[in-house]
Symmetry: C2
Subunit: 326 residues, 2 copies
DNA sequence: CTGAAAGCGCTTACAG
DNA sequence: CTGAAAGCGCTTACAG
């Protein structure tokens, strides 16, 4: 692992293996790619495998990619690495990718606005993009694409959560606890998933008041503080994200409001934060989302028509919601 | 972005650009790589650039990699994606990499123990690995490597935090508040950084009691619950990670202990969690760690001797620590 | 059952 | 100042 050391002999090539095994390069390629049965004798195949093993041969990926015109690499584009949600998406997608012999590379986009970062459309066979607008991905040339947690009406197939069902369960839970006036601490992000949550709440709740905040504790705190200071404050606060719910929690605390005695709070995602604060929240199965999206993309790459599943999102009731005290 | 659509003409090559500009392939290469001054006339260069632009030409990375024998790609190996700490490391490293024209690919390792995942030693020019043992990275062939948050006595250069200084500040803070009997809720992970924290605490605290827990809220809860149930429980609990501190917080709460009245709690990392819980913690500058490590790796790749910086880690005092009540 | 040869798209040493 | 040619390491169609 040191820069110094014995002269770094260049890695063995298939030519070296051929020489070692006493066969031609083509035979080596056939054997190691597994396409040999019926074309190479079993004993020759064995000889080749042993020679490759002995030399520690690994095919040069650049050469293979050049020859084949594909890379077996998929790019997962996500809006931010910092959200554990996307880590879960990656885990699910990477599992399926690896089973199919594909690599999955994460690309946070944009890392720095107006920075020198470009979505590397060239070196990939396909793309997964989560929680963003499809047209923000426009590149010099089209790439097979599956969207996650995004507008299902787009050109690319999308894999989504059942936001409507989740909001239905959420509002039913709050209604059952006696809440009528409900606040919506909405994410100030122009993404389909948040628009969908807003319109589903609009449809379900008659007496709804909405404030917006960027997703962070401090911004959630400020927006919630303002809303909860109003004389006609809501008795329940639906937050678009667990992180916002943490901010809301702190605002309630600062205003001397007891949770859930005076105020019920809910989140979305079911992150580690939600468990930490005993937050009632909508569990979004992010890992499953990643897995299903990768499955859809592999279908697409093989010319099959991909499924466009809608995954159920379950309400997890913890201790941040309670009955309205009269 | 659709699978269907007009016949996907294969991407333009440098040959196409050469034909379009009426020059040779070599001239195209010279111009677009920026090595033309003094070798190609300014007007020809301009013609080539315009032709490339017109055709939407992008060099084929596989061909370039094959020809040059390098990929300008660096692999960042991290033990888990789910920790926001590593997202910050990535951000810092990616910034420096991009400025130098390198790509940075994240590789969580192992995603699944005994899974089909292999560190792709072949297609990269160098490796950054954070918070793990150097020898767990052993591959078929050595790759220029810089370790982060890892044993500085290893073969590879390491970039680290000043753990000793942090523990010194932390214990000074607790001593000043009157604490004498201190608990250490230690991460049950065999990594250098945690060993270092333990030994620094051993050196600084006379009356120390240690319990171990995997890094998660529930495990932190259990270990802390047991420790805090003892008749001679400590008055302060130093946790190896903010997540463990959350579990400790919940255990204190379950046992009817007031924080910080009855028990002081501290963490490490200064994640979003720490802000949420007003946790006194050691701020580890993860983004800076990533940036400095990438700088060291670029030095290594250019044959320069890399720096091995030790970054200061600042104690952030919030409301989870207080004076011992007598 | 096995091998010689072509060619993927680039960069660079060489010739002019 | 510009171009023809070689070659990186692979896979595959073709010939035997």
């Amino acid at each position: 692992m040191t820069p110094a050391g014995p002269a770094p002999a260049s890695p063995p090539t298939s030519k070296d293996v051929a020489a070692e095994a006493g066969v031609s390069q083509s035979t080596v390629s056939m054997v190691l790619s597994g396409k040999w049965p019926g074309r190479v004798s079993a004993s020759t195949a064995q000889t080749v495998r042993e020679a490759a093993e002995r030399l520690g041969y690994r095919p040069n990926p650049a050469a293979r990619n050049l020859r084949l015109g594909r890379t077996r690499t998929i790019l997962l584009v996500i809006p931010t690495l910092t959200a554990p949600f996307f880590a879960a998406v990656y885990t699910g997608a990477a599992r399926v990718a690896n089973e199919a012999g594909f690599s999955l590379v994460i690309f946070p986009w944009p890392i720095i606005p107006d920075g020198p970062f470009r979505v590397p459309h060239e070196a990939i066979d396909g793309m997964l993009a989560s929680s963003m607008a499809e047209d923000s991905l426009a590149g010099p040339r089209p790439v097979p694409l599956v969207m996650l947690d995004s507008d299902p009406e787009g050109t690319a197939p999308a894999v989504n959560f059942d936001i409507e069902g989740a909001v239905r369960d959420l509002t039913a839970h709050l209604f059952a606890l006696g809440h009528r006036r409900i606040g919506h601490l909405a994410a100030a992000i122009d993404a389909w998933t948040f628009q969908r949550r807003a319109s589903a709440l609009d449809a379900a709740v008659e007496d709804l008041v909405r404030v917006f905040a960027p997703i962070a504790i401090s911004t959630g705190y400020e927006a919630a503080y303002e809303l909860l200071s109003r004389p006609d404050r809501p008795t329940a606060l639906v937050c678009d994200d667990d992180t916002l719910a943490v901010g809301a929690h702190k605002a309630a605390s600062a205003l001397g409001l007891n949770v859930p005695g005076d105020l019920s709070i809910t989140g979305f995602d079911d992150l580690v934060l939600a468990e930490a604060l005993d937050l009632t929240t909508v569990h979004l199965p992010a890992e499953e989302l990643g897995a299903q999206a990768m499955t859809a993309l592999l279908d697409l790459l093989q010319g099959r028509s991909p499924a466009r599943p809608v995954l159920p999102a379950e309400l997890v009731v913890r201790r941040s919601t309670g009955r309205v005290e009269l």
